[in-house]
């Protein structure tokens, strides 16, 4: 067996149509000026725009029809997220979709029937997983006691301030479990918003202590661990898709500048010192995109198999390194202009840092890939 393994890459008419629609939507509805207008807002996105996206069905695109979704799977969410990444459009779509996937993959029918339709119809949800900055640390210390009361803090919870629902990983009776918390259950001051390097994104530390969770909002059993693992991988894939869109936009920004800016009497794009690294950004972005759609090909509703795991990890490792490089070079190649807040290069370099740190950085995934591929 070749270490390169599965190399499937399929893209349906449906996906192609969605990619096209989503790119057009983002281009029309969220030009970069609108993105900038959201940088200082509390939520980071335009609620009316979110409603439009919901009405297009995107909030439930990956959910089965039986729970109010479109039943098209993660594979169709990927092009939408890529298109949003390209437009640098911040919304709760990724966190909401991941929370829904976690419920879908671990909850019982009653829970899914009760909770998923709301998400599909646009009530944002989110995941609360991390307790420190270490994605490689899967230990959970936030507890759900026998009386159903939570104690502990989750960090960097994405889109926490707008989420109506939190799916929280907890320690319960010595086992890993999930607790579903409604935002109205949170005590005042439970949330401390993070100041993020990527101003298009929002997250918060959330103190769940004292929240009483109804029995029907607790998810336990053998499915929880695998579901969590899968959702972390899907998170890696979606962030990779988004980052790949951002890399592509960043590349466009660089190319545009290199074609118009002159120095020493020549268009700067004619200098190989700028030209060749820009080619590197192109080829690395090409690689990222190939991994992302390879991943989209392999992830389905079932538990992710090893090929899918490899694909998600590779997508994340490649996409985030690429954006890190693209963002850094975008600032440099714009010269003095690149050093200003006004220049869009800042959006990409900031997004790069954020993306790298979601669901484990490149090295985190390469370490796990080594075990999957070499042992």
């Amino acid at each position: 067996m070749s270490v390169v393994g599965n190399t499937a890459l399929q893209f349906s008419e449906e996906q192609a149509m969605l990619l096209d629609v989503a790119r057009q939507f983002c281009q029309d509805k969220s030009p970069i000026a609108n993105v900038r207008a959201q940088l200082d807002t509390e939520t980071g996105f335009d609620a009316a725009l979110w409603d439009e996206m919901v009405s297009l069905g995107w909030a439930g695109i990956a959910l089965p029809e039986s729970y109010g979704g479109s039943g098209m799977g993660i594979a169709t969410l990927v092009p939408v997220v890529e298109a949003m990444g390209r437009a640098m459009l911040g919304t709760p779509l990724i966190s909401s979709s991941l929370a829904a996937q976690l419920l879908l993959r671990s909850g019982n029918t009653e829970q899914k029937e009760r909770l998923l339709p709301a998400i599909a119809s646009g009530a944002p949800a989110t995941l609360a997983l991390l307790e420190d900055g270490d994605w490689g640390n899967e230990a959970v210390s936030l507890t759900l006691d026998d009386g159903g009361v939570l104690r502990g803090v989750k960090k960097y919870v994405p889109d926490a301030t707008v989420a109506s629902l939190f799916v929280v990983s907890v320690q319960h009776q010595g086992e890993l479990a999930l607790a579903v918390v409604r935002s109205d259950q949170l005590p005042a001051n439970a949330m401390r918003a993070n100041t993020l390097i990527d101003q298009t994104k929002r997250s918060a530390n959330v103190d769940f202590s004292g929240v009483k969770v109804d029995e029907n909002n607790v998810i336990k059993g053998a499915d929880v661990g695998p579901a969590l693992r899968d959702v972390r991988l899907l998170g890696a894939l979606l962030v990779a898709a988004e980052a790949t869109g951002s890399s592509a936009a960043c590349l466009d920004t660089i190319v545009e500048y290199l074609k118009t800016r002159k120095q020493f009497g020549k268009l700067i794009g004619s200098y190989q010192a700028l030209k060749h690294p820009t080619v590197d950004i192109l080829t690395e972005t090409d690689s990222a995109r190939s991994f992302v759609y390879h991943g989209a090909t392999l992830v389905g509703e079932d538990a992710l198999d090893t090929d899918a795991e490899i694909a998600c990890r590779m997508a994340k490792a490649q996409a985030c390194q690429t954006l890190l490089y693209a963002g850094d070079r975008a600032v440099q190649f714009h010269g003095g202009m690149g050093f200003t807040y006004e220049c869009d290069a800042q959006l990409y370099i900031r997004r790069a840092q954020w993306s790298q740190q979601q669901f484990g950085d490149a090295q985190h995934h390469r370490k796990r890939l080594a075990s999957l591929l070499l042992d």
Binding site: V4, Q272, A370
Partner: protein
Amino acid sequence: MSTSEKELAEFRAEVGAWMKDNNPPDPGFLLPQTFMEVGDERQLEFLREWQHKVWAAGYLGMAWPKEYGGRGVDPVFQSIADQEMRRNRVPICFNVIGLGWAGPLINDIGTEQEKARYLKGILTAEDVWCQGFSEPEHGSDLGNAQTRAVRDGDEYIINGQKIWTTMGNFAKYMILLARTNPDAPRKYDGLSFFLSPMQLPGIETRPIRKITGEFGFTETFFTDARIPAGCLMGEEGQGWKIAMQTLQYERGAASGAAGGQAMVRVTVDDMIDQLEGVNRDGEPVLKDPVVRDQLVQAIMEEKAMILGDRRARVAALTTDYPGSLQLSNKLRLTELTRRMRQLAINLQGAEGALYVGDDEARQGGFWQRAYFNSFSATIGGGTSQVQANIVAEHILGLPK
């Protein structure tokens, strides 16, 4: 001609089985991985025999007309045969300039006489072909070729010098780019294209010793060499156009090439396999975390290339910079190959300092030689630096 899936699958099984059964045993010397590495008569004879055998079995030139030694079937069969050759890691079909460049060209635009004269010998490996495009002073700049061809009655008199002629010392024919009109307003319009014999007075070859220590190329000197006027292909002044057309066939049987495996693919699997038994700090080198991180990166690079081929076929996923995956392919693959082979040696530990000829050299020094040979691809056919310019200008639209 439409062909059923079933028929194709049966053919694949048939050719696969044949390759497996007929893959020759290790001859006791390192075989060339590419046709550019044929360094001595021993290798040549081995490969000539192998190519003839593949042809005789019906797995070479399958899409070429029957009357010229082909089988006249759909090119898809040749593509399958080529895949099975690669998969079974059989030796290369070494007569690459004939099979992949001159042959399809003659098939496309040659006269009946040319087809009858040249095609079959290409397939049987009886007639080795070489290519005379590059010149010493104009490495990456073909349009500037200065070798002169002057019409004199029924002959052309050739003067000049070609370089990097692969198998120039073994070849019977050369596809030759020469200047018939030095005064043409556009330098490209002064060039003509010839199917030139090599065994004539006034044509001499001097072997070039490669960095590997072997001989793989020649310089070819033309000194008042007289070739028949009939060797001119097309008309005077069409040389550049024909040369550019020739370069199109490289992409394989679907474009008209005879097929056959031109190069033994060396993969990251091979690179990892060769580390079997290599230790670092007393432990298998594959257990070293830093090495593992490097290997995963190499695997990812190779996999990204393969996935890129797949994605290139999905129109909706190639709208950004169309052609980017295809046009950057040479740059990426050749650079990956070079880096991977360098890494392969590095990871061997002290054994990495051994070379071909040492009994204890890992896999006979394969990786050391392969690393050196990899530069033929990062330099030949446009250096990586020139390739990066091409991608920047043609795909990204950056200024020259």
